[in-house]
């Protein structure tokens, strides 16, 4: 593998001088990052460093908050998703997201939750819905636990199962990229382990970008790691290299626990 990982030619998603503002606060101060295809990239950093804001800019969810603004470019397959003629709704079908707290739709069953993205976008073919529901529930490592009764309400599951249902829901739309915003922070260790297991499998088909404040998780799960601090990108590289041989002093301090 090349020494300078920023030269990856297989970048699925790329940000160019990305800036983001909440009202008067500048949360992102010009981020240049390239996310490799079919790999897991972890974005880590202390609270307030802008990591959540960063991934919310990647699927244009950030702009839904009143008072939020974005400058700069995010390039998906050569196209800037912030260009004026680009439909954010179409982008979100190609870049999916899993949130910190599990949020299955309370009025829907497990099956309906899993295929919600498809049904709401007009897919009626029962065979296709059944196929995609099973496929995505398998990929989220939830199928075996729920296949007995898919008509149960989505909220009748445990926290860890609900989060895996949300992962399945995001996968069923068949996005190219999956964004995960601290997906395990509300889960117990066993549920966390199951989710991490599923992430290993996911990168075969998808590009995964996961925000985590848990250093060990970043080390366990990711191929590449980006370290952010106060709205700036401090370091980026292959995970093993960043953890064993950090090039920036701040990175080294964060990894060794001198601040968090």
């Amino acid at each position: 593998m090349s020494k300078n990982s920023q030269d990856l030619s297989l970048a699925k998603l790329e940000t160019r001088d990305l800036k983001a503002i909440y009202g008067k606060v500048q949360a992102l101060k010009g981020i240049n990052l390239r996310f490799p295809e079919n790999r897991v990239t972890a974005v880590m950093g202390p609270s307030g460093c802008g990591k959540s804001t960063l991934i919310r800019c990647l699927n244009r969810i950030h702009e839904l908050t009143p008072g939020a603004k974005v400058e700069g470019e995010v390039i998906l397959d050569g196209v800037n998703i912030y260009a004026p003629n680009v439909d954010p709704v179409a982008i979100r079908r190609r870049i999916g997201m899993v949130f910190q707290k599990p949020n299955p739709f309370p009025t829907m069953s497990i099956f309906d939750n899993a295929v919600a993205g498809l049904k709401l976008n007009g897919v009626r073919d029962k065979k296709k819905l059944n196929e995609l529901a099973e496929k995505s529930l398998r990929m989220a490592f939830l199928w075996d636990e729920v296949k007995g009764d898919l008509k149960k309400p989505g909220t009748a599951l445990s926290g860890g199962q609900q989060q895996r249902l949300c992962i399945a829901r995001a996968l069923a739309v068949q996005p190219e990229i999956l964004l995960m915003d601290e997906p395990c922070s509300a889960l117990d260790p066993i549920a966390t382990a199951k989710v991490e297991e599923s992430i290993f499998e996911l990168k075969k088909e998808f590009t995964v970008i996961i925000v985590t404040h848990n250093l060990q998780q970043a080390a366990r799960v990711s191929d590449y790691t980006a370290f952010m601090y106060l709205g700036k990108l401090e370091e980026f590289g292959e995970t093993a290299r960043v953890f064993e041989n950090p090039q920036s002093e701040l990175t080294e301090k964060y990894i060794t626990g001198k601040f968090g």
């Binding site: 969810i61 982008i91 739709f105 829901r169």
Partner: protein
């Protein structure tokens, strides 16, 4: 103070105060509940003699004839409240959605305020307003005019309860839907409203109960009638509340008894609506209004 100086038991004085407070609270509860029971009892006793099949199915007759009923008034009330609901529910729900989903816009804040002002408007003033714009222009009292007046009463209730119910839907659900690539209007109609539909329905039933019991807005718009109506726009229309007013203020004993009977029917309808909400939706109207 030494640790051993603090007493371990409850003093007699505290026991007396506890018991006294408890008794005072029970008295307060009784004072609040007893008037309601007295009213219900009074209406039931005075109204029951008037209730029979004839009463519910026949048209009103003169005070010296027997066999008269309130059928046309009941039909009139149902018609006007139903028509008012047809007008106010779509507009009210639409306004409620706007207040909730676009709450950051200035238009939302201003119109929300105006909505709250309308909620507290004197119903007599609303009746007079509709009298001027509809009755004077069409030269008729009508069920339509009565329904429009009632819809002014219902609209702000529906709008506010819709707004509050939708605001209770957690924002994470909206984000989850948008993140799936679902357009905003679909997110609102298929996810947000679906999750908040209980509150919405409660608000509509609340508004219907309110409109059914209104008298002042109908006095100059639908006026009175003793017949079933055949035209919504040109005929005065009877209603239960106006009938109660007319009969109760008349000098005829038969009519006064019938007024009590009509009042009993009205109260039973209110209780029925309240029970419907409680059983089918699972909470009572005031609880829902305070949510």
């Amino acid at each position: 103070m030494e640790r051993t100086d603090l007493p371990l038991g409850i003093s007699l004085w505290r026991k007396i105060v506890n018991r006294l407070m408890f008794i005072l609270i029970i008295v307060a509860v009784l004072l609040a509940v007893v008037p309601l029971i007295l009213i219900l009892g009074d209406v039931a006793i005075k109204g029951a003699p008037a209730i029979n099949i004839d009463f519910l199915t026949h048209l009103p007759t003169g005070p010296t004839f027997s066999g008269g009923g309130i059928a046309s008034a009941v039909a009139g009330s149902f018609t006007m409240v139903g028509l008012a609901a047809l007008i106010s529910v779509p507009i009210g729900v639409g306004a409620g959605i706007f207040f909730s989903e676009w709450s950051s816009s200035k238009l939302s804040t201003i119109s929300g305020f105006m909505n709250d002002v309308l909620t507290g408007f004197p119903s007599m003033v609303i009746g007079l307003f509709v009298y001027i714009i509809i009755v004077l222009n069409t030269k008729h009292y009508s069920a339509f005019a009565g329904a429009v007046a009632l819809s002014f009463i219902m609209l702000p209730i529906v709008a506010r309860t819709t707004d509050e119910s939708l605001k209770l839907v957690p924002n994470t659900l909206r984000e989850a839907s948008m993140a799936l690539g679902v357009p905003r209007w679909k997110t609102i109609f298929r996810i947000v409203i679906s999750t908040g539909k209980t509150g919405l329905l409660t608000g509509v039933v609340l508004a219907i109960a309110r409109a059914t019991g209104e008298t002042a807005p109908l006095l100059f718009t639908a006026a009175t009638s003793t017949y079933y109506i055949t035209n919504l726009f040109t005929q005065p229309t009877g209603s239960m509340t106006v009938l109660i007013y007319n009969y109760a203020t008349s000098p005829y004993a038969t009519w006064v008894t019938q007024a009590w009977g009509a009042a009993l029917v009205l109260i039973l309808i209110m209780l029925g609506l309240n029970l419907f909400v409680k059983i089918v939706i699972g909470r009572n109207l005031t609880e829902a209004r305070m949510e």
